[in-house]
């Protein structure tokens, strides 16, 4: 799934744009979503999105002709979001690691909820909201690597390098994040089977 070198996802169907406003309207949802999923704060995500587009404006001559403008924006949004998180993480690192959970401990077995018809009449917006909320409930050290791995297709070692943690910790955190996500959705009456159809 992530065997190849990381490549930022390029939104499909978006070609080069001459006008900056049109350019911004095409990509703003993607940029905001990328940031919001990492920082878990809409106001901060909006600030970061603004910064991304201001940087994009400085390089607009290049971006307007580039087919990989979306990938460039996503990379910048991810980097700025991680920088933002690192700034706050450094302040609380001592407290968050004091007596923290032990690494290497086996994750508890996840029992998937039996497929049900609970979501038979639930529309996609509501389904999206459930999953987004479940994602936002994850703690930072689980959510951030999970988002980087599943949404940005960044491999484990690159995630470890960017976050400044060990490869083993990244793998453990992502595994626990998946288990926690499945657990949250199970408690909410959802199941991964039902959500993915």
């Amino acid at each position: 799934m992530n065997d190849e070198t990381k490549v930022q996802n390029e939104p499909s169907g978006l070609g080069p744009t001459d006008d900056f406003t049109t350019f911004m309207r095409k990509y703003q949802d993607m940029v905001f979503t990328t940031s919001a999923r990492l920082v878990r704060n809409d106001a901060q995500a909006e600030d970061i999105s603004q910064e991304v587009f201001i940087k994009a404006h400085e390089h607009f001559e290049m971006l307007s002709k580039s087919p990989s403008a979306g990938g460039w924006l996503k990379t910048v949004a991810t980097n700025l979001s991680l920088n933002h998180l690192q700034r706050y993480r450094k302040r609380w690192k001592f407290f968050s690691e004091f007596g923290s959970d032990t690494d290497g401990e086996e994750s508890p077995a996840v029992e998937f909820a039996a497929p049900d018809t609970f979501f038979a009449d639930v529309d996609s917006d509501e389904r999206r909201a459930w999953v987004e909320e479940a994602l936002s409930k994850l703690p930072d050290h689980q959510r951030v690597p999970l988002v980087l791995y599943h949404f940005d297709d960044i491999p484990y070692d690159e995630i470890a390098r960017r976050l400044g943690v060990s490869l083993a910790k990244v793998k453990t955190d992502i595994l626990r994040a998946r288990a926690a996500l499945a657990k949250i959705l199970s408690r909410g009456g959802a199941s991964l089977e039902a959500l993915t159809g």
Partner: protein, 157 residues
């Protein structure tokens, strides 16, 4: 959790997350960006970063900086080698007599504090230091425990 379960979980989580559409950006984002770009464009060139200065001014600034540095180095070498250097140092020390006075005051205060500390029994000194260290550690531990407790309350796992 065995390998098959892990692989299945990864696949399901991946499908679930990748099926999520993008969230809608705030309606005010576009206006904010355009307003900020307009504000920055309206700034005079000397309030922007060096990279945005007109080329002529950048070149002039660099040339003046190099000239000033060369002049300082030349001046330092000239003064250091000239006979006037001794007269200059004498004039400087008389002009900075206040510095000598301030230095004497600081040294006197240091000696006074040292004599006061020497008069305090060692047991009191070490005991006081230990109390301060333990209090500091206790406050740090209390803060860490409080933070962890609040984090656990928010965490679902």
């Amino acid at each position: 959790m065995n390998t098959n379960d892990k692989n299945e979980l990864e696949a399901r989580v991946h499908r679930t997350l990748r099926s999520l559409p993008n969230r809608r950006a705030p309606s005010g984002l576009e206006a904010r960006v355009l307003a900020e770009l307009t504000r920055r464009a309206a700034l005079p060139w000397w309030r922007k970063s060096f990279a945005h200065w007109p080329s002529a001014f950048r070149f002039t600034f660099l040339a003046l900086s190099v000239a000033a540095a060369a002049l300082l180095v030349y001046g330092a070498i000239t003064v250091g080698n000239s006979q006037g250097a001794h007269a200059l140092s004498g004039g400087l020390s008389s002009g900075f007599g206040w510095f000598t006075l301030a230095r004497d005051i600081v040294l006197a205060a240091r000696d006074r504090v040292a004599s006061l500390v020497a008069s305090v029994p060692r047991v009191w000194l070490y005991g006081g230091a230990a109390v301060i260290a333990v209090s500091y550690a206790a406050i740090g531990a209390l803060g860490a425990a409080t933070y962890r407790a609040l984090s656990v309350e928010r965490s679902p796992s």
